[in-house]
């Protein structure tokens, strides 16, 4: 089970993406838990996640969360703006899985 957390200002626009990502995951047969939260909950919710993806419009959150993320081994990245605009669940899911993989096997991907 891969746990993917999305965060934006109020968790609205990222939740659009959540349903698309779930569809993409179901199509691929990947076992995932994906959910979206508002920015004030991001710090506590990320403890339950394997990866945190931030809406590009809130990318200034990353700096605040990155220290704690690094300490817990949770990669944090902004979602690609183009994929975000297209609500491209497939692309964002791919990115999330890749980030989790890289975090777990840092040498494999290099």
């Amino acid at each position: 089970m891969k746990r993917i957390l999305l965060a934006c200002s109020s968790g609205m626009s990222t939740s659009l993406l959540v349903s698309r990502m779930k569809e993409a995951a179901a199509a691929r047969g990947v076992d995932v838990d994906i959910w979206a939260v508002s920015q004030d909950k991001a710090a506590t919710e990320m403890r339950k996640a394997d990866v945190l993806l931030v809406g590009p419009q809130m990318r200034f959150l990353i700096k605040k969360l990155s220290q704690e993320g690094a300490a817990m081994g949770i990669p944090i990245e902004a979602i690609d703006p183009i994929a975000y605009g297209r609500v491209d669940g497939e692309a964002v899911l791919e990115k999330a899985l890749e980030l989790i993989k890289r975090e777990r096997n840092p040498h494999e991907s290099e």
Partner: protein, 430 residues
């Protein structure tokens, strides 16, 4: 490319600014504090709306109508009208939690500090706290008090002054005193400040903050120039793909909420509403038209004149969330960010709408916002109706503004659509 160089420079300037404004711990606590209060504020607003349903005053007898309003009154009196209390608890809680201490202590110590600073007399009657000072009038004092109380509390906790218990006293007993000293010292500071203020011509801290800070700021914030600056800042941040509303709100919300509350009081008392610019002015007449930048107009235009397959797809994708004022698909998908072609309508349309709305309200064609808080996800039409105190003119103004925004965007969207359309045609030939 000179243009992209300029964009890069601006991006380098704006990102740290957004970072500072959004991640500053006082502003973060302030925003989170309002978030805590928001469900209560909305609950109160719903009952203001129900208490003032249109035509009820004509359907019911005067006494029945008064009884109806009185029965529903406590719902908003206990929430919306004293929102300062909840914001203060929220700020104190969130700041203290952020400082790594137990949040609830920060919440209650902030609340107690605020009550110490609040006048406890009304027209010669002692032992009462005027509810007006727990609402907008006390909002700024409350915010400052919560900041200072949380910081003092943290300072005194970190000092770790403990009451030494004799050996043999269970550990749990001495720990139960651990919050006592920091809280006692923090509140003592506020008591001293209160006493000192009583020797000044202002008499109370509340009066001092209100006269020296809140009054000038709200007067400034209620004007058209400051509002246009705020609106342009929001649009400007968004142009660089940064959440302008969140960033600008952290500074403007106290002012907009305070103005809102003044209107609510007047609305409930049946008096003339003092302010046009309020939280609702922004949320309903600017954000409430499809999201920041009023992109519902863009979606409507796409359906009307769009020819390119890609842009029409985007319209379909953006329409359902757009109705509820979530517009990231349009902003990132059209795209609006970093797209020089749409910079003019993106900046111009909200300013024009601000001026139209302000004018329509100041000459009395459309009622001013009644001070109820309508969630920003409320669809166009309904939000305008509710925000203006159940007035159809509010809904009509929103629709009119939507047409204006469509007219402003028309030529620019046409060019953009043509560019994409032609690229698609070339692509299909190959």
């Amino acid at each position: 490319m000179n243009q992209s160089k300029l964009m890069n420079v601006l991006e380098k300037l704006l990102l740290p600014l957004a970072d500072k404004l959004n991640n500053n711990r006082y502003l973060t606590a302030l925003r989170d504090g309002f978030m805590v209060a928001l469900p209560l504020i909305i609950f109160g607003s719903i009952f203001v709306v129900i208490a003032n349903f249109p035509f009820l005053d004509r359907l019911l007898s005067e006494e029945a109508y008064a009884a109806y309003q009185n029965a529903l009154g406590p719902a908003s009196a206990a929430t919306l009208s004293i929102m300062g209390l909840f914001v203060i608890i929220g700020i104190g809680y969130k700041m203290t939690e952020h400082n790594g201490l137990e949040g609830i202590y920060g919440g209650v110590v902030s609340l107690a500090a605020f009550l110490i600073m609040t006048p406890q007399v009304l027209e010669g009657v002692t032992g009462v706290i005027p509810t007006s000072s727990l609402g907008a009038e006390g909002l700024f004092l409350g915010i400052f008090t919560a900041f200072i109380a949380s910081e003092l509390y943290r300072y005194f906790v970190k000092k770790n002054w403990m009451i030494k218990m004799p050996a043999g006293v269970p550990d749990a007993v001495s720990r139960s005193f651990s919050a006592l000293i920091p809280i006692a010292l923090t509140l003592s500071v506020f008591l001293v400040v209160r006493i000192l203020f009583s020797f000044t011509p202002f008499e109370t801290a509340q009066n001092f903050i209100y006269t020296v800070i809140q009054q000038p700021l709200t007067v400034l914030g209620s004007g058209l120039p400051a509002t246009i600056v705020a609106v342009l800042l929001i649009q400007f941040f968004w142009f660089f793909g940064l959440h302008g509303q969140i960033i600008v709100n952290s500074v403007f919300d106290p002012i907009w909420f305070a103005l809102n509350d003044q209107n609510l009081k007047a609305f409930q008392a049946g008096e003339e509403l003092p302010n046009i610019i309020t939280k609702q002015f922004i949320d309903t007449f600017l954000v409430g038209m499809g999201g920041s930048g009023m992109t519902l107009a863009v979606i409507a235009l796409i359906f009307l004149i769009g020819r390119s397959r890609q842009i029409k797809e985007l319209g379909k994708l953006g329409a359902p969330p757009g109705l509820f004022n979530v517009n990231e698909p349009i902003i990132f998908g059209l795209p609006i960010i970093m797209n020089p072609l749409v910079l003019i309508p993106w900046l111009l349309a909200p300013v024009v709408v601000t001026i139209i709305t302000y004018t329509a309200m100041s000459i009395g064609w459309v009622p001013k916002p009644a001070g109820v808080i309508v969630p920003w996800t409320t669809p166009i039409g309904l939000s305008g109706f509710l925000a203006t105190g159940n007035a159809w003119q509010g809904a009509v103004l929103q629709i009119f503004n939507l047409l204006v925004v469509m007219a402003i965007w028309w030529p620019f969207l046409k060019i953009l659509d043509k560019q994409v359309y032609e690229k698609e045609k070339e692509g299909s030939k190959q």
